[in-house]
């Protein structure tokens, strides 16, 4: 009897091994894709990268030595506006959810935040167009920044809430017991205790919108020259990559690879750093 139960038929054993290997193969395949992406960009990107890429304006196709200095600065300006708008609003809303919230209203805010997070980026672009570009009658750096700022809000909210909630209650109680007010407790005790996670979360958030192209297409538009001030159309790295990639010119393609390499290097290095900081922090907390 017991011997019969111990015997596992050949078919079952083979199925076991085959199916388990397939799952391993799928995992390997997915990770291979990542390395292929990195490899290709490294291979094509480094080759097309030169000093002039960072210092020169784009040149008409055929002329050597064109760069994307204006796109790099433009992306920086757009991301600056996005951060200045998105992070404080998201942070404070997160503070509200974690520290002050009642039940029903918090549920509504949380639900709507997730909803906003799921809105396709191109739709956010339409919204920014209707709210900023149309009233101003012009495409602008500001409009692009606002579009990305709105995209940053949901993640900022949820990151803040999550990391503030992870702060032990004893810290709050100790602070209140010493006579500190609630606001003082939140901003001088709770938030500093979570600062590492908060900063990393915001960096991840920034990295996510740094590669966004769709919302910029009809807000910041694009520009082959320096953008003066904040109310003029502005170039940005992602849009530049898009425009150069779909152009029919070989030297533009080379520039697109270089820009893609720079963008990916930026996004992935922020990601890796922030994730390592967060996971390192989690490990110490568990210990």
């Amino acid at each position: 009897m017991s011997r019969m139960n111990m015997e596992i038929s050949l078919r079952r054993r083979v199925t076991n091994i085959v199916m388990l290997s397939i799952t391993g193969l799928f995992t390997l395949l997915t990770i291979t894709i990542l390395f292929c992406i990195l490899g290709y960009l490294l291979y094509h990107g480094i080759g097309s990268l030169s000093w002039s890429f960072f210092t020169n304006l784009p040149k008409p196709t055929g002329e050597a030595g064109g760069g994307m200095a204006n796109a790099i600065v433009g992306s920086g300006k757009i991301l600056l506006i996005a951060t200045v708008l998105g992070v404080p609003v998201g942070f404070l809303a997160g503070v509200y959810l974690s520290e002050y919230s009642g039940r029903t209203f918090a549920f509504v805010v949380r639900y709507v935040t997730d909803l906003l997070n799921g809105v396709p980026s191109i739709v956010i672009g339409i919204f920014a167009y209707a709210m900023v570009v149309k009233p101003m009658h012009r495409f602008s750096t500001l409009a692009g920044g606002i579009a990305l700022g709105i995209m940053m809000i949901p993640i900022a909210v949820r990151t803040t809430e999550e990391f503030l909630r992870a702060v032990p209650n004893s810290l709050r109680e100790a602070s209140l017991a010493l006579g500190a007010t609630k606001a003082t407790t939140i901003f001088t005790v709770v938030a500093p205790a979570a600062i590492q996670g908060l900063v990393s979360g915001m960096m991840l958030n920034l990295a996510r919108v740094a590669g966004e192209t769709a919302p910029l297409l009809f807000t910041a538009l694009g520009n082959m020259f320096w953008s003066r001030g904040w109310s003029q159309p502005s170039a940005s790295l992602p849009v530049m990559i898009y425009q150069y990639a779909i152009s029919p010119y070989e030297d533009y393609h080379q520039q697109a690879w270089a820009a893609g390499f720079v963008l990916l290097a930026l996004v992935l290095s922020i990601n890796v750093t922030a994730r390592l900081v967060i996971s390192g922090r989690g490990a110490t907390a568990r210990r």
């Binding site: 799952t23 995992t27 509200y96 520290e99 002050y100 909210v157 500190a180 779909i246 994730r275």
Partner: protein
């Protein structure tokens, strides 16, 4: 520090009636109001978003109504706007993406949650999540210059030779097509399925696995017959989440789908998607009806993703609560 403590102590015995103004001056109520208004602002932004989409598309809604969704002619010069080719393109590419990404993603998540040692699993998940951080325009770049040529030389001839009798794989493959867009999308959404499904699988209690193994099931049987059914709802949730991403994805699709508003049964033929047509034609839209029709498309896309996201969240929530109970 000492100064703060002493002022706080001084304030403590104040009568309650004056407490509110005191606290307001100390920043207490102001801090609360600021936090509350930030939370309200989030609601306001989403409200405004819906309102703007609706208002800006009324012209087109009044002109075409429901027939906008069923009309298959998109001719800006004639003022004819029908969204069917775009809806078709979005659905076909998303369906194709899921067809590839679901087995791949669920398979990989099984490996990561059930087989791989925890440390190795964490490292691999880390790498896979980096894949989700790659900007979509970079997927598009690789799509144009790497993936499309690869499909052209290897995959398409193979598919034609093997499944050529199906209408899906007939016609000439030029490169930009539903097929290319679907494959690129599948690579983009697989990480979402993997990381969410892995979490869901982890939430299945260990005794379920142990019970199955103790009864003589093989590892695969324990996983497939016991663990997966337990996590089914959550995995469905992750798939819906991926679907919502695929539907709204713009750049990568725009760069490889071919941007031709045509409905064709063949996956080899170029097409168009909702997001792609908005991205391409928005700045060139002349005339209010044209622009309004594009925004109407945005509204349709918005509605579609909202519904699918809501379903996804409910499914994931249900599994997590089941796991916690």
């Amino acid at each position: 520090m000492a100064a703060t403590t002493s002022t706080v102590l001084d304030r403590a015995p104040e009568p309650r009636a004056r407490g509110f103004w005191r606290r307001l001056r100390a920043g207490e109520e102001i801090a609360y109001l600021i936090a509350l208004s930030a939370a309200t602002l989030v609601l306001l932004i989403v409200g405004l978003l819906v309102y703007q989409l609706w208002i800006s598309s009324t012209l087109s809604i009044h002109a075409f109504g429901f027939s906008f969704l069923t009309g298959s002619t998109w001719d800006p010069n004639a003022g004819q706007f029908g969204a069917l080719p775009f809806i078709y393109g979005t659905c076909v590419t998303s369906a194709l993406a899921l067809l590839i990404a679901v087995p791949l993603g669920v398979g990989a998540s099984i490996f990561l949650a059930e087989l791989a040692p925890p440390n190795a699993s964490n490292v691999m998940t880390f790498l896979i999540e980096l894949l989700a951080a790659v900007p979509s325009v970079i997927y598009g770049l690789l799509g144009i210059f790497v993936l499309v040529p690869l499909i052209h030389t290897y995959l398409a001839p193979f598919l034609t030779a093997t499944f050529g009798f199906l209408p899906l794989f007939q016609g000439t493959f030029y490169g930009v097509s539903f097929l290319s867009a679907g494959i690129i999308l599948s690579i983009m959404v697989a990480p979402f399925i993997i990381s969410v499904s892995r979490e869901v699988l982890y939430a299945v209690p260990t005794d379920q696995r142990e019970a199955a193994l103790a009864l003589g099931a093989t590892k695969w049987e324990a996983t497939w017959d016991i663990v997966i059914p337990n996590a089914r709802t959550g995995i469905m949730g992750s798939i819906f989440l991926a679907l919502a991403r695929a539907l709204g994805e713009t750049m990568a699709v725009t760069m490889v789908i071919g941007n031709t508003p045509a409905i064709s049964a063949s996956l080899y033929s170029p097409g168009y998607s909702i997001a792609a047509v908005i991205a391409n034609e928005f700045t060139e839209a002349t005339g209010n009806l044209y622009l309004s029709s594009l925004i109407f498309l945005g509204l349709v896309l918005f509605g579609l993703t909202i519904v699918i996201n809501a379903v996804a969240r409910i499914l994931i929530l249900v599994t997590q609560q089941k796991g916690a109970a």
